[in-house]
């Protein structure tokens, strides 16, 4: 396994003065590579001083922010329909990709988009052309910057593994298209003999308003040839908890060899929610106080990363 593992951390929730302290905590475990998270990249797009701060910080501490997650949500997703917002959205993504490239990121993970289908009830087929048009615009920039746009599988009708596969396959001719395989999202969608449909989080039922939840087996097998990066986290199978591996019900023994053998993998990423208690996705699996950096590093070593 040669693709690096990038560690996620909620940097945006820290005062600037604590960035070096947290970096040192990771460095003393031998970790120097971090996920360039969406709040960070959004801040860098909006404020040149944040970008400057991050440049100085990475240089001074000898760390890297790579494996970018694009801004996402109702104003940033690939399939947003609003005509007046789309040009601004695309321009922001180009800027974000340029910043990512400057920091050495190889991948730029993007969401197809769930909001307009799940909340506004716009049919999936009406949103697909928007996602295609967005990628047609962005891919030439990605190619020029040497970055791969990684479309992420999620747990709504617009971004199931099949939807993502069908979308990226249309751009086979571009070296700058790929997939971000999200372990937790796939697990959330997967049918298992032990699953009881009534236990799914209510937001899942709301997302699948049209025809009810359609589970999806073998997401990794569907997407494996396109996987360039991964989001690695766990959950109960019923909600998007972003927990530490081994705290949920993913079978890591079965999954990890497959992840390590994705032919196009460039960067792996942890995508843990460090918080404890109740969150938007339900009750976190983290211990009181949340997850520690120690447990994150040790868990991912146990998964086979070194």
């Amino acid at each position: 396994m040669t693709a690096p593992l990038c560690y996620n951390y909620p940097w945006h929730a820290l005062p600037d003065s604590l960035y070096p302290r947290v970096a040192r905590e990771y460095l003393d475990y031998g970790v120097d590579t971090f996920v360039f998270s969406d709040p960070l990249i959004k801040a860098c797009i909006a404020d040149p001083e944040r970008l400057s701060f991050l440049r100085c910080f990475t240089r001074r501490m000898g760390v890297k922010f790579v494996a970018t997650h694009s801004p996402f949500g109702s104003t940033y997703d690939l399939n947003i329909p609003e005509a007046e917002r789309r040009p601004v959205m695309l321009k922001d993504h180009v800027r974000a990709m340029a910043i990512s490239a400057e920091f050495g990121a190889k991948t730029y993970t993007m969401h197809v988009g769930a909001y307009h289908h799940c909340t506004k009830h716009i049919p999936v087929q009406d949103l697909r052309p928007n996602a295609i048009a967005s990628l047609e615009y962005l891919l030439p920039y990605a190619e020029k910057l040497g970055i791969v746009i990684a479309v992420e599988n999620s747990f709504e009708p617009t971004n199931s593994a099949k939807e993502v596969y069908d979308l990226v396959k249309q751009f086979d001719s571009s070296p700058a298209i790929g997939v971000c395989y999200d372990t937790g999202h796939a697990h959330f969608m997967a049918p298992y003999p032990w699953k009881k449909r009534e236990k799914y989080a209510s937001y899942q039922n709301n997302s699948w308003w049209e025809n009810g939840i359609i589970e999806e087996a073998n997401a990794l097998e569907t997407l494996q040839d396109y996987v360039v990066t991964t989001h690695i986290h766990d959950n109960t199978g019923y909600s998007d908890l972003h927990s530490m591996p081994f705290d949920g019900t993913i079978d890591w023994d079965e999954l990890m060899p497959k992840l390590f053998n994705c032919p196009r993998i460039l960067e792996h990423q942890t995508e843990i929610n460090f918080s404890d208690g109740s969150g938007w996705a339900g009750q976190a699996l983290a211990p009181t106080g949340g997850y520690s950096i120690k447990s994150q590093v040790e868990t991912f070593r146990k998964l086979g990363f070194n």
Partner: protein, 306 residues
């Protein structure tokens, strides 16, 4: 060695919402005992709701805040001479002792205080009268609350090992003991390699009459009376509060003695996490400061276990 080791952390430099996260970092190393540092004590004296915050935090996270350090400086030290401030100073320390008892701390470390001697020209004999007067008022309260007042050795004329012994012998009180500060003792210890011109001015300037005097055997003089200790390192010339093994203290000589103090109640780390330039020179820590991981590993190396 059965007395617990409490770990120092500069709680006053992090927002409240990050306290659980930092505590979890310590807990995942098996550490449940944390030092109640003097800025926190000062904040509790100024605002009782801060005590509730820390009590709630300790209960929720299953940790103890012990090894309490009194507020110090010219308005809090035992040597305070201003008659208007004195009763208030005593009152503050009584409240602080009550806080110690409430948190389960067995010791309350106090500074004798150098300010009147070094800055106000008060002679040592006169200073002793003020300190004795203050301790006469505080010791009954300490006894009532079951907390031992631990007077700390410094690197000045008025808080040398011999001065501390004056008060220990004067009172011969079960609720008066010594906080042995390893770094302070190291500064005043003569070694063949030391050059007097290399002492930081803050050391030399705190000796007026008599002039700066080294003390070769602070630990041997104070050992029978040590109830707690502050463990840190330095270059031998300045009060850097570095990590053990980053300075020049001979730990292999010292630790067996520290582990054999007959009255020991609580050990404390007192390592400054700060990097770069500090008040007494250049910190010994790595870029970004010391990590919790490194802190824990070093104290295991010193012989502590938990």
């Amino acid at each position: 060695m059965t007395a617990p080791l409490a770990f120092y952390f500069n709680w006053n430099t992090i927002p409240d919402e990050l306290h659980p996260r930092v505590i979890r970092e310590f807990l995942d190393h098996g550490i449940e005992d944390l030092v109640f540092i003097n800025p926190v004590m000062e904040s509790v004296l100024a605002n009782p709701s801060r005590k509730d915050f820390y009590l709630g935090l300790a209960e929720r996270m299953g940790v103890r805040f012990i090894g309490m350090h009194s507020p110090y400086g010219k308005t809090f030290d035992l040597s305070l001479i201003e008659p208007d401030r004195k009763p208030l100073m005593i009152q503050d320390h009584v409240k602080a002792l009550e806080t110690c008892a409430e948190f389960g701390s067995k010791t309350y470390t106090m500074h004798l205080g150098t300010y009147p001697y070094a800055a106000q020209n008060v002679k040592l004999e006169q200073l002793r009268e003020h300190i004795v007067e203050a301790l006469e008022k505080l010791l009954p309260e300490a006894e009532r609350l079951g907390v031992v007042i631990a007077i700390e050795n410094g690197f000045s004329a008025n808080d040398s090992a011999e001065e501390l012994l004056y008060y220990i012998n004067h009172f011969n009180h079960p609720y008066l003991g010594v906080c042995y500060d390893t770094g302070h003792a190291h500064i005043v210890t003569p070694y063949p390699w030391k050059k007097r011109e290399k002492y930081h001015p803050h050391v030399i300037n705190n000796w007026i009459e008599p002039a700066f005097q080294e003390c070769p055997n602070s630990i041997d003089l104070l050992q029978p009376h040590i109830v707690t200790c502050h463990i840190h390192d330095n270059s031998g010339y300045a009060d850097q509060h570095g990590m053990p093994f980053d300075g020049t203290l001979p730990w292999e000589d010292l630790m067996p003695k520290l582990f054999n103090c007959p009255r020991m109640l609580e050990y404390q780390t007192e390592v400054s996490y700060t990097e770069g330039k500090i008040w007494c020179g250049e910190a010994l820590s790595n870029r970004g400061g010391y990590s919790i991981n490194h802190h824990v590993q070093v104290f295991r190396k010193l012989g502590f276990s938990w």
